[in-house]
Structure formats: C-alpha cells, structure tokens
C-alpha cells in the first residue's frame, strides 16, 4: 500500500493510469482464480446450506424422501414456527438428548484432558525408545469408527463378551454394560479412554515447547516439581488446553457415528440413555425424513455451540499467547 502511494506522486497521464488500473485488475483476477475453487466450495457447501437450513426449519414437512421443504410442496399454511414449538414444548427427547450430550461432555472432556496430560508427562520423560511408546499410545485413534463399534460391542457384550468374563474371573459381579440404562453411558465413556492419544499428542508438543531455560530458572528459584508444573508448565500449555476444550465440546455435540456403530439397530441406547443430540438430529432427517424439523434441531444446536464457544473465547484471558499478547 505504501509503495503504491509513492508511485502515485509521480505525475502520469490519465490514459496511462487507466491502463495501469486495468493491468492491476487483471492481475487481481488472475490471483482470485486460484482461490476460486474454495470460494465456490464455501458458498456451495457452507454458506448456502447454512442459510437454506434456517429457511427449511420453518417448514412443516412430512415423511417421504421426495419432500423438499418449499411452498409448492408444503403449501403456504405449512410455514411457521411449528418445528420450534415442537422442539421447545412438545418433544421431550430434545431435553433427554441435551442431558445425555452434556453429561458426556462434562465428564469426558475434563477427564480426557487430565488423563491425556498425564500420559504426555510420562511420554516426555527422557528414556530410550520413547518414540515407540508414543506411536503405540496413539495407534487406537486410527481405528475406523465402524470397526471400533464392532470391536467394543463384542467386547462389552453382556452375555458373551470378554469384559464380563474378566470381571467375574476377578470375583466382581457381571455388568449389563450397553444393555441397561444405568451402565450404558459409563461403558460408552470408558471406550473413549482408548482414544486419549489424540489430545496426548497435542499436550506433548506443548510440553516440548516449554523453554528449558524457564524451567531451569524456576529450579534456581527453589521451585519443586509440583510448583514448576502448576506455575510454569501448565500456564504455557493453556492454548492447547483451550483448543482441546473447544474441539472436545464440538466433538460431543456432533457425536453420532460412534454411538450408532456401537449400538447397531438402537442408536439411542436402552431407555434413550445414549441419545446424543447429533443422533437425534441425524435420525430426524435421515430416518424419519422430517427435514424441516431436523433443520430446526440443527440450528438449535448451532446456536448452543456458538454461544458456548463465544463464552469460551470471551473468558479466555487465562490463555497464554506468548509474550506478544
């Protein structure tokens, strides 16, 4: 910009200036062509559907895969706040789904943060062959959703599963695991233990970025290992903490694949004990084909996510962003 100003001070004819403007425009369009795919992509697959789903959410729609919510199919009378009334006052499953989702989030996110941090601390120790352990701990993260569901459904099968075999062989009572409302959620939560590697890797990189000099000077000031952890290491790792918090929350609010593949036919678990909000919204759209209501559910979810992430960003003064800020 400053360069341009300097050039403008040299007197030039109007024609030359127009010519330069044209070249400049061609230059800009040439660059824009490179990002055109993603601009179109954002419009077609994000911005347009986002607005359209808000529009659809005001239509009452009926079962049937050929229905597309609009005035022609639905008639003007079927435009209104039906879906929102249903969501807030009639459909008790919405509140069950919110409770299930937030119970999961409130327990699993902090627990996973702490446990993966402990794993990272262990992996940060300087012993030979540590790289092998890092790979092993991360490995379960790569198991495809379907296979993970297949595998844990078999392991936690109440009648023929190995899990109950292990419990009874240790003299403990057998559990119903996924087949009873009180044990389904704890079972589902414990399966997430195997994917701790994902956030562990992030913690590990944060730990590696803690300047050694800072730790040394803390040591010289007489800070023990616990004080060093609380006053030096954890504050520097707060951006990762924040990132894990946000992605954990968004992940919980979008959970449907893992529950469906684990539970098979009944994607909601016994007595809706594993009825995640995202599954409710998926099922409404693609099992009962109530597209309008599904969009209302999705927008409700979207507003919740937006408010929560907004709150997280507004209260993130505890996050350390380097010396600059």
């Amino acid at each position: 910009m400053k360069q341009n100003l300097a050039q403008e001070t040299v007197p030039v004819s109007a024609a030359a200036r127009r010519e330069r403007k044209k070249i400049r425009l061609r230059e800009e369009l040439g660059w824009f062509a490179f990002i055109l795919p993603v601009v179109l992509g954002v419009i077609i697959f994000s911005l347009y559907p986002m607005l359209v789903s808000l529009w659809y959410s005001f239509f009452r729609t009926y079962t049937g895969t050929t229905n597309m919510p609009d005035f022609v199919v639905n008639g003007v009378n079927n435009f209104g706040l039906f879906n929102y009334r249903r969501l807030f006052t009639l459909d008790s499953e919405v509140w069950i789904a919110l409770r299930v989702t937030f119970t999961y989030a409130v327990v699993v996110i902090p627990l996973a943060l702490i446990l993966s941090f402990l794993l990272a601390l262990l992996l940060n120790s300087k012993v030979k062959g540590i790289g092998v352990f890092r790979v092993i701990y991360y490995l379960p993260v790569i198991i495809p959703t379907t296979i993970s569901g297949l595998l844990w459904a078999d392991f936690f099968d109440a009648r023929f599963g190995l899990a109950n075999q292990i419990l009874t062989s240790m003299g403990l009572p057998a559990s119903d695991f996924l087949t009873s409302a009180s044990t389904a959620m704890p079972t589902f939560m414990s399966i997430q233990l195997w994917t701790l590697g994902a956030s562990m890797i992030l913690w590990l990189s944060a730990l590696k970025n803690v300047p050694q000099s800072l730790i040394e000077s803390a040591k010289l000031d007489g800070a023990g290992p616990v004080v060093r952890l609380w006053k030096v290491i954890i504050p520097i790792c707060t951006p990762i903490l924040f990132y894990n918090l946000i992605t954990g929350l968004i992940g919980a609010l979008q959970m449907y694949g893992p529950v469906m593949t684990l539970l098979g036919q009944s994607g909601a678990g016994p007595d809706n004990s594993l009825l995640f909000f995202a599954y409710k919204s998926y099922g409404t759209a693609f099992m009962s084909w109530e597209m309008g209501y599904a969009c209302a559910l999705a927008w409700f979810l979207f507003v919740i996510i937006a408010v929560l992430t907004g709150l997280a960003f507004r209260t993130n003064r505890w996050v350390y962003y380097g010396d600059g800020g």
Binding site: F32, I35, M50, S53, G257, C295
Partner: protein, 288 residues
C-alpha cells in the same frame, strides 16, 4: 551418596518403563483382542464353549473366507473414493493455498477468514440442504457426494497447512521466474508444487486415512436403499451387514477378521508416516 543417587535414578527409570509397558498393553489391547478373535473357530468366537482371549485353535483360513462378493464390492468402492480424493484434495488445496500465500488481491484476508471459519460450523447445520442438493442431481446413493466436495478447495485445514508451508518458501525463485516471463500458473506448477512435496505427502496420507475410515458422510449420502447398497464403502457396508441386518449370521471371528483387514492399511500407513502425520495433527492443533 553418589551410589544412592544412582540407585534412585535407576529405580525411577525402571518404574517409568514398567508404567510405559503396562499402558502399551492397554493401548494395544483392541488390536490384540480383534486379532485373536479373528483366528478362533466359529463357535469359540461366539463364546459357546466359554469366552476366551487367546484362541484355543488357530484358524488362519478365516482370512480367506471373508473375501466374498460383498467385501470385494465394499473394497472397490472404498478404493474409488480414496484414489479420487488422494489426487483431488492435495491438488485443490495447494492451488488455493498458493493463491492465499502469494497472491495480492482485494478480499484475500476476508476469504481466508471465511474459509477457516467453516471449520467451526457444525456438520448438522449444513447436512440437510447439502443432501437435498445432491439429490437434485440424483447423486445420493452414489459415491459422488464423498468425492465432489474435495474438488472445491480440499478442506480448510489442508489449505491452512499448505499456505503456511508455501509462505516459508523463499520468494527469490518466483521473482526470478516472473522476470523470465513465467505466469502465475507456470510458477505454481513448475516451482512451488515440486517444493511442496513434504506437505503433499502429508495430505495424501492423511486423506487416504480419513477417506478410508469415513463413516459419517457415507451414512448420510449413500444410506441403505436397494440401489445404494451397490455403492457401500467398507465402513458403511460392514455397519449394515454386521450390525443392522437382522439375521446376524456372520460369526464374530469373521467379523473381526474383516475388522483386522480394514484396520491394516491405515495402521501400516500410520506406522510408516507416523512422524509426518503426528506433526500435521500438532500443526493444525496449535495454529493459534
């Protein structure tokens, strides 16, 4: 004194290793469980004679039984999606990333922010209209919805990573080529793209793994109708065949053998490229 310190140090190392190895067993457990069950006999895997972790008899021939017509069809479909995506996504992402890294045009920062912002958009909000859009073109129930979005930029995070990478490349070569009269696209194709090899490799491997594993979008866009089952991918086909079909007549050993075969390609790729993949995860995670 010195001796005591050394003993203490050795003790700490020993305890560390003990902990590391115990946890390894925990994290390897799903793989061991799946593998041992996959080589059991039919009834043993079902638990008829009691539930075992180690197989009593080893039936490696189970691995020959799983390659039926269904599996071959799932595999073919998965490979179509994977091959298209590992070519299209890195290419599309690097074209867009080049524009963002080296271009100067109005609205560049605006669009870059918008692109990155889409990462925060929950899938549920766009799912229904995108589904209806694909249905208008008669593409639901086919593999197309799993491939087409990749053409449009290859994903925000891939663009972000590649842009960072291109920005770290020296500009001298582009400038020299410009003086020699090379256009933007020539510079991109001849100079930038070859230098992007490390990040391209990362994107190819990462795309392979995500396309191979994808369940969520296959479920939505392909679904389970009489015509769409022709296009089931591995992740989707296994779900419908083993978990939804009412008869459930496939023994657990064959289910697990299918699982092992499905995990194997991603596990091998991960083991070979683990450094690049983990670095990529870390880079996207610490982008702030």
């Amino acid at each position: 004194m010195k001796n005591a310190a050394r003993v203490k140090k050795h003790a700490v190392t020993a305890v560390t290793y003990a902990g590391l190895i115990l946890l390894s067993l925990f994290f390897l457990f799903p793989f061991l469980f799946m593998f041992f069950k996959s080589v059991m006999g039919d009834l043993e895997s079902y638990g008829t004679y009691g539930v075992h972790f180690f197989p009593q008899e080893w039936h490696f021939e189970n691995y020959l039984k799983i390659f039926d017509a269904d599996f071959i069809r799932y595999f073919r479909n998965t490979m179509i999606v994977v091959v298209c995506n590992i070519v299209l996504i890195p290419l599309a992402a690097s074209v867009c990333a080049y524009g963002f890294a080296r271009g100067s045009f109005r609205g560049k920062n605006f669009w870059f922010t918008v692109v990155l912002g889409t990462v925060m958009l929950p899938g549920a909000v766009t799912q229904v209209p995108v589904y209806i859009l694909f249905r208008m073109f008669n593409l639901t129930g086919t593999l197309a919805p799993l491939i087409i979005p990749g053409i449009f930029g290859g994903g925000a995070l891939n663009i972000f990573l590649t842009r960072q990478f291109i920005r770290s490349l020296p500009r001298e070569m582009d400038e020299a080529a410009t003086i020699d009269g090379a256009g933007k696209f020539t510079i991109f194709a001849r100079i930038i793209l070859p230098l992007c090899k490390p990040i391209l490799i990362y994107m190819v491997i990462n795309t392979f793994m995500t396309s191979w594993r994808d369940f969520d979008s296959a479920l939505v866009y392909i679904g389970n109708t009489s015509s769409s089952s022709e296009w089931h991918t591995l992740a989707l086909g296994i779900y419908y065949k083993f978990m939804i079909s009412g008869t459930n007549d496939v023994y657990p050993n064959l289910q697990m053998a299918t699982g092992v075969v499905t995990v194997l390609p991603v596990a091998v790729l991960f083991l070979i490229f683990q450094r690049q993949l983990i670095d990529g995860v870390v880079m996207t995670g610490t982008k702030e």
